[in-house]
Amino acid sequence: MTAVKPSSAAANRRNAKRRTLSATGVFAVAILLLWVLVALFGPFLAPHNEADIVSDVNFTRPTVEYLLGTDYIGRDVFSRLIYGARTTLATGLIATLIAECLGICLGFFAAIRGGIVDSVMSRLNDALLSFPHIMMGLVVIAALGSSIPVLIATSGFVYASAVYRIARALAMDLREKEFIEAARARGEGTWWVLSREILPNTTLPLLTDFALRLSFIILFMSSLGFLGLGVQPPTADWGSMVRENMEGLGSGSLAPIIPAAAIASITVALNLLVDELSRRTGRIYGGARE
């Protein structure tokens, strides 16, 4: 006795409600959009170049000329913040794209193939997951040195294993559904089943995972930057900016706090968005940070 009969009007109302965001959702999207615009048009907005030493005085208080003061060698913090948005967002996005593509392809593949292929892949993945991400990053950087390509490739690869697990679980859930059986019964190939039957039903959960993964990767990369193992100077990167200016903290300078707050604003906004999206999918995301 489980048959539900939503009238089509009720269903339409439900769909309409789905498309609107709550207030926190709008707030989160606004913050993210703002940073994306800053990253895109950074050079036009920044009063100074990211590497230019503009003042003889380091750690000045905010003034009209230097809106957020100067850093440890007298560069303009405001300008570096704007340039840093580019580095931080671009490296984070590319790494997330790599992680998602790799994880989804392998996860779906394992779920569809099943059997021994799936068990071997999943066992290996479990082993990778039992390696704390930061440790993996440290070992790779110790070996290869830190550069932007190494950072992106490492983050992408390290986080792919978590994506793999989610993508595989999503596909496994769907694989048992009768509409997949129906597709198999009419002789559809693997590619059709994956692209037409499974993928359209996983867009929202995968999108949610993308936002969550992006926030984890930004945290991961900026933590490496903060440890002095991320993007190397003079390129502005938020994590590295916090580290460079730590010595100013004792004198109450805002130079280390501001880039840290910028990272926080993005990761918090992403998590608010994830919370909003996961209410719709009914899946719980987040939990332990990875």
Partner: protein, 315 residues
Amino acid sequence: MLNLIGRRALQGLLTLLLVSFLVFAGTELLPGDVAQAVLGQHATPESLQELRVQLGLDRPAALRYVSWLAGVIHLDFGVSLASQVPVRTLVMDRLGHTLILAGLSAAVAVPIAFVIGLGAATRPAGVFDRISSIAALCVSALPEFFLGTLLVLIFAVNLRWLPAIAYVTEFRSFGQMVTSLAMPVATLAAVIISQMARMIRATVVNVLSLPYVEMAVLKGVSYRRIILVHALRNAVGPIANVVALNLAYLVSGIVVVETVFVYPGLARLLVDAVSSRDFPVIQACVLIFCAVYIALMLLADIAAIIGNPRLRHQE
């Protein structure tokens, strides 16, 4: 059940072996070799050769791995390239500090997370739930170096209540230990409290929505008894799992926190070793952190098994 736990433990051990292999292989990824990395580009061929022989790099990699592993089993991690001190001495100096920091953070975080998570779950959508949920969501997304620097700015620079750095080799008094560890512990605890509270709330809310809880209500069972007997009995496995997962997260958090507060712990040793490419130290530290992490993951698995009556009563 014991069978299942035994199998998981064996899996954990195998994973640790794999990790040791990866850690070792990591150094083999080097474009040149360790000697080249240590001496830099301007080293003379003679000095390079000398160091290679000294480090045993002239032997095949497989052989070096086996002898390194044999050393590790006897807690012999080799000698630091940077300071020529046995790695074991360096590690033992620092390990205690890290354990104190992690232990205190866990001791503070677990009960607080429990109270917040349970409090929110017993009245879903109430005022406390709404405020704590949004706060937990935000805090769980903050980078530790933001929380840490913010605390320093407020309590050390502006209010001058606490020292900015936790640079201590020995704690002279309990009071001094509390003041120097307050901020590092608060930073580490904040992130895991918020994560744990969210996950505990979700677990308990989920259990409370199950039909057997409604059945208990209809049997006339009191709310207290429903929470303590019916809900917690089923949530305890998942919650223990949540706690273990979050304690495992401390391994990552501690790396950043020790750097923020210049705390002389194992993670700080590791980060410095990565900067100076002191491979024996890196290998030792990474292996220790991974072993702890794997052990906690294993505990999480065991908690999940014990919490599931189907698995618990498997014949």
